[in-house]
């Protein structure tokens, strides 16, 4: 059984699948990237860690950052979706650049990916996205600001809450505020 088949087979023991992920990482086979992402979505944490390592070793983040500039909106959206799973800080700049993608689906996914990262560029992009016309974009922007650890986040979220009319976005902002107000560890 090939390493990629072993990795994909959710009926095989986790230890075997982790070993397969390592084998794939060592092989430098970029063709395995889609399967690695597919596996990541149904993986318990131990396997997920091995898959993420393999994706990093295969340079997935760099390839996906390039895809954020692709002509096809679906390709840009898929790249952002996968970057959201990677949560690689090195993707921050590329995602921040893509934060104003004209395609709403791609933009929503870019903001969701950004919401899982931190840093000055990320904060600025999320803060701006709080004013986006798309309710989903605003939801993820709020969630990201809640996690940002930035001292400005509470005030930004409070302002957004006052202006917000969409009840589900307000729900996100409330949760984000609760998170932002948590005492630091």
């Amino acid at each position: 059984m090939s390493a990629i088949a072993t990795l994909a087979d959710w009926e095989r023991p986790e230890a075997e699948r982790i070993e397969a992920a390592r084998t794939i990482a060592a092989s430098k086979d970029g063709g395995a990237i889609p399967t690695l992402f597919a596996v990541l979505e149904g993986a318990e944490v131990e396997l997920a860690r091995a898959v993420l390592t393999a994706l990093k070793d295969l340079g997935a983040a760099d390839a996906l950052a390039k895809d954020l500039k692709a002509k096809e909106p679906e390709k840009r959206r898929l790249a952002a979706e996968r970057l959201a799973l990677l949560q690689d800080p090195r993707s921050s700049a590329a995602l921040a650049e893509a934060a104003k993608d004209a395609d709403p689906k791609a933009r929503t996914t870019v903001i969701r990916a950004l919401s899982l990262l931190t840093g000055p560029k990320v904060y600025d992009a999320l803060d701006a996205a709080l004013g986006d016309p798309n309710a989903e974009v605003r939801s993820y922007a709020a969630a990201g600001l809640g996690r940002s650890g930035d001292a400005r986040a509470v005030a930004a979220l409070e302002r957004a809450f006052e202006k917000e009319e969409d009840e589900t976005v307000k729900d996100f902002i409330e949760r984000a505020l609760r998170r932002a107000r948590r005492p630091a560890k």
Binding site: S2, I4, A5, A8, D9, W10, E11, P13, E14, A15, G31, A32, I33, P34, T35, F37, A38, V39, L40, E41, G42, A43, E44, V45, E46, A48, L78, A84, L85, Q87, R112, S115, L116, E136, S139, Y140, A143, G146, E167, T168, K170, D171, F172, E174, R175, A176, R178, R179, R181, R182, P183
Partner: protein, 569 residues
């Protein structure tokens, strides 16, 4: 092929001994029972005619005696009237290795006629290894101990397989899918159960019954071979019925299956207990979303809120309501959580037309400042709400979790030891290190259950089917039992990207009196469609294609078997 650990079929071993004749050994000659009798003389490795063997057989005197006694009740033309065989049928003697004579010859002819070939020696009148192998196959098919010795049960089983043979003894099996099978009849009569490796039409009938009751066999189906897949399905059925979880087809299991299974060609369609859920005009529901290290928690929340909104739910604020309104919607002090959000919808019961107020409480890891407070909220939902949905990680079967895996603070521990099935991964030690030693389950902390008398739980997380064992074992879960709690779990890993879709689909079904069978079918379709999408995005072809069909059986039910309103279709 189906089974792991399967015992081989009726493959006939090559005869042992000289090729010119069938060897016999004097180990266990024909044995009269219960009175002592001379043993049959066995001649090893010597070619003899059957007639000579018969003449020299001291057991012949016993046979003559048997001939004078009453019949043993054999009815087939091939066996009826033979004094020795009738005596065996009466339990007065047995035929064991080394026996010889005309009666043995008749026995051999009957075995061949019943489909148990003797390819090397045929009906030579000597009962040797080949005959024993054939008899063991017969015994296996009849659910009898595979001794190779012909006793009363064995000869009667053979008689039933022959033209003119006795009809199966009354077994109490009334379902037409089982009543004609002699193997199952023997099991129902209390003979040896059918365990791992058993094969035959009886096993196949049981497998089909399990599938028609909703206990899926996604890999091997009704292949007539009792392997691990069928064993687990049997254990789940046994769990449902409160009988020992042997994983075997035993008398208790078969009797329960006989009563529960639909008629041949029909399938069971299950329903939640909607009359009970809607009885008070309210549907108190919690949707709890667990923590995910890969950042899909927000995606799940957003999908869930979008779905609720599209189903007609609107955000409500209990803290701004009058006391009367809060009572009407069921969000009074007993059910109000400051950090949760609430969504309301009024719908009419499709069966009665009566209005039902549905209020969904939504809990996420950000519903409280401390993860342990979120876990406590979830606990209170289990204590109070009629319907509780959880979407998130199962943490190797240990239970829901509202914070990072490397913390025990947000866990609601259903079972510290986690997955029990041999083919599932166990919780890693470093994860358990974060849960306090001795904290085996939080279920025993529960105090109470919803007032309506019925609760419906849905766990959308990897392989949560095993939660059912913990959730349904009487005494482990504050007054819950198979009669008042129904649980839906998953049999395989589910995808993080579909979590919200499943929660929404469940909500759609339970406000429309949709059958659980139909809801679960739709849930599985969501998984299949998502996997197909991943495949189309480049997840590797052939192997992925092989795996996708198993996702059609993602969800499993527990507790629904005896619900009012269930139908056979």
């Amino acid at each position: 092929m189906s089974s792991t650990g399967g015992v081989g079929g009726a493959g006939r071993p090559a005869p042992v001994g000289p090729s010119t004749s069938q060897p016999t050994t004097p180990a266990t000659p024909a044995t009269p029972a219960p009175a002592p009798a001379p043993a049959a003389t066995a001649t090893s490795g010597t070619s003899r005619t059957a007639a000579a063997a018969h003449a020299a057989d001291p057991a012949a005197s016993i046979l003559s005696a048997a001939a004078r006694s009453t019949t043993g009740g054999l009815q087939s033309t091939a066996l009826k009237g033979d004094a020795t065989l009738e005596a065996v049928a009466r339990g007065e003697r047995t035929i064991a290795q080394g026996a010889r004579g005309d009666s043995v010859k008749k026995l051999q002819q009957a075995l061949m006629a019943a489909g148990y070939p003797l390819p090397r020696y045929g009906a030579d009148g000597g009962y040797g290894n080949e005959g024993m192998t054939a008899v063991k196959a017969l015994q296996r098919d009849a659910g009898l101990p595979q001794t190779g010795t012909v006793d009363a049960a064995t000869i009667r089983a053979l008689d039933r397989k022959l033209p003119g043979g006795a009809p199966p003894a009354p077994t109490g099996l009334t379902n037409a899918r089982f009543s004609g099978d002699s193997t199952l009849a023997a099991v129902a009569a209390g003979r040896s159960p059918l365990g791992a490796g058993s094969r035959g039409e009886g096993v196949k009938a049981v497998q089909q019954a399990l599938m028609d009751l909703g206990f899926d066999l996604p890999r091997y189906g009704a292949d007539g071979s009792l392997g691990n897949e069928a064993k687990y399905a049997l254990q789940r059925f046994q769990q449902e019925k409160g009988i020992p979880k042997t994983g075997k087809i035993d008398k208790a299991t078969l009797t329960a299956l006989d009563r529960a299974a639909p008629p041949p060609g029909k399938k069971l369609e299950t329903f939640p207990e909607y009359d009970k859920l809607y009885a008070d005009g309210r549907l108190d529901t919690t949707i709890a979303i667990g923590f995910d290290e890969h950042g899909t928690t927000d995606l799940t929340l957003r999908t869930t809120l979008n779905g609720l909104t599209s189903q007609g739910y609107r955000r409500v604020y209990p803290e701004r309501m009058s006391a009367a309104e809060r009572t009407k919607l069921g969000v009074g002090p007993d059910r109000f959580e400051a950090g949760a959000s609430y969504y309301h919808r009024k719908f009419n019961d499709p069966a009665t037309g009566r209005p039902v107020e549905a209020v969904v409480k939504v809990i996420t890891p950000d519903s409280a400042s401390k993860p342990e407070d979120v876990a406590a909220m979830f606990k209170r939902s289990i204590e109070r709400d009629e319907v509780v949905l959880y979407g998130g990680h199962a943490r190797y079967g240990t239970g829901p979790d509202f914070d990072h895996i490397d913390s025990g603070r947000g866990n609601f521990v259903i079972d510290r030891s986690g997955n029990k099935r041999a083919d599932r991964d166990r919780p890693p030690g470093h994860m358990l290190d974060h849960i306090e030693p001795g904290r085996t389950t939080d279920l025993d902390e529960l105090s109470g259950r919803p007032a309506g008398g019925y609760q419906l739980l849905f766990f959308n997380a990897c392989s949560t089917e095993e939660y059912n064992h913990n959730l349904r074992d009487t005494g482990a879960f504050a007054g819950r039992d198979r009669g008042n709690t129904d649980v839906v779990g998953s049999t395989i890993p589910t995808r993080l990207g579909t979590n919200g879709d499943h929660l929404v689909r469940f909500m759609q079904g339970i406000t429309a009196r949709e059958s659980m069978t139909s809801i679960n079918r739709a849930q599985s379709s969501i998984e299949v469609a998502y996997l197909e999408r991943l495949r189309d995005q480049g997840a590797t072809g052939e192997d992925w294609n092989k795996l996708i069909p198993t996702a059609r059986y993602t969800y499993s039910e527990s507790g629904f078997l005896d619900n009012a309103g269930n139908k056979f279709n």
